[in-house]
Symmetry: C2
Subunit: 250 residues, 2 copies
DNA sequence: TAAATAGTGTCTCTGAGACATTATATT
DNA sequence: AATATAATGTCTCAGAGACACTATTTA
């Protein structure tokens, strides 16, 4: 914050606003990157789908509020995944009623169940992100949530490049094939399997092999099972072929 | 934002807060990455150094407020550089007087002059970041600005890796040696000159050669002069030797 | 000429992509 | 055996680091 005006806190001089958190909660379902949306029951935007969110309490910072909302919305108490701040959205007219500034967050977790429905008659479900952002019969989201979701998706995609965050999308223990499918789902196109295996295994602290073997498949050679390692960043990064390729051929 | 409680906007139910922007403004001065700080005249933290910032007006979003503050603090009307949102800081007790949520921003520009002093008797100057974050006689910053500055520095460093942002730190036209010195200043250690030149030149859209030659040096072969190209991201990234080697996470 | 800075060539090493080959399980 | 999946080996190519070498200017 900081300020240069000693009396700047006079509420008559500067207006106060409401501050909320919004959440883009991601998981992998049926091999597709999916996000949790809630159908609004009230105006404005009644009937539209929106990101879950809520107000920050007086004793919370934004991250604590996000964790709390996450538990409330998903019904998951012991959250196994990761949560981080995304960006703050503050256009003066983003909410037609009041000035509301929202601190958006991104969360990831492995293979979450369908969200708690009973709670308060709201409709809530997982959407494959391709069904939300991909033109055609994609729903129009409430408020500026389409923009938030776009930014959130880009955050997830880029984080897979230079961090070990992909491991947050799978349950331990996991196989390298499962981890590879996370990259395929999030990026749309998987990295080449050979290079992927080499990189994951050779990057110290990305994953740790366990002594047991197994996997979900009923047939075929059983896979080595791994746990998350201690490393957080990938150096160098896992390469993704950006959609915006520099001049073809090249 | 979004909400699930139709009457949630009742001010008696949820408290309103003040929202500010803070700015970490960076430039290169005397070969060192430097940040603009302001000495506070009033309590709290009177006498402490702080990041410049101010309140968001009712008709502005956070980015517009940041641009406005930037012009006010630096006295630069035609801002040649870049500004982007960094992160929002919202600890309930980060300001002892009121609940204040701050949307921090990062700005870069080439070789800025000493900040406007006369304005309102406040003391303002450029600090080499090594003098602010480096132990010893580093000043204790006001509020949570030390944390913000840490995050801002890390943002600048990492952005040089995967974007063409370094060109925002030099005035056009510039030489490759000047651009190389930007990397040296921001990272502490420069990338190897040979690889650097190859990468900058071979990355389409990073820089564009001009027909003229020159440079600042009085002696030696005159350098080719360049302008910024149209590209924004570097694919693959410029490699930096991280201080924190991969292996041990947080 | 010497000194200074700009720019190139070349060697080696790492690692990515492609894909053939081998390994280990079930039926 | 046949089939399915896991895992490895190998070839090639792009690019990074190191550094010697060449180029172009001023004094």
């Amino acid at each position: 914050m900081s300020d240069q005006h000693p009396d700047a806190y006079d509420a008559s001089t500067y207006p106060s606003v409401f501050v909320t958190v919004d959440l883009a909660v991601f998981t992998i379902r049926n091999g597709a990157l999916s996000v949790l949306l809630i159908e609004r029951g009230d105006e404005p935007y009644a009937g539209r789908w929106a990101l879950p969110g809520g107000f920050i309490n007086p004793d919370e910072d934004a991250e604590q509020a996000a964790w709390r909302e996450l538990a409330e919305e998903t019904g998951v108490e012991q959250w196994a995944g990761h949560l981080e701040q995304l960006k703050t959205y503050s256009a003066p007219d983003r909410d037609p009623r009041h000035r509301i500034v929202s601190v958006a967050h991104v969360a990831f977790a492995p293979n979450l169940p369908a969200p708690v429905a009973g709670d308060d008659a709201r409709n809530a479900r997982w959407w494959a992100v391709d069904d939300v952002v991909g033109g055609e019969d994609a729903p129009e989201l409430a408020f500026d949530h389409a923009e938030i979701l776009d930014d959130a998706i880009e955050r997830v995609r880029s984080k897979l490049e230079y961090t070990t965050l992909a491991t947050e999308f799978v349950e331990e223990p996991f196989t390298l094939a499962e981890l590879h499918r996370v990259y395929a789902a999030v990026w749309g196109r998987p990295p080449s399997l050979g290079a992927f295996r080499r990189k994951v295994i050779s990057t110290k602290g990305f994953v740790e092999a366990t002594s047991t073997k197994g996997g979900t498949q009923a047939v075929g050679r059983p896979a080595t099972l791994y746990r998350r390692g201690g490393a957080a960043i990938l150096q160098p990064a896992m390469l993704r072929q950006h959609a915006t390729e520099p001049g073809a051929g090249d």
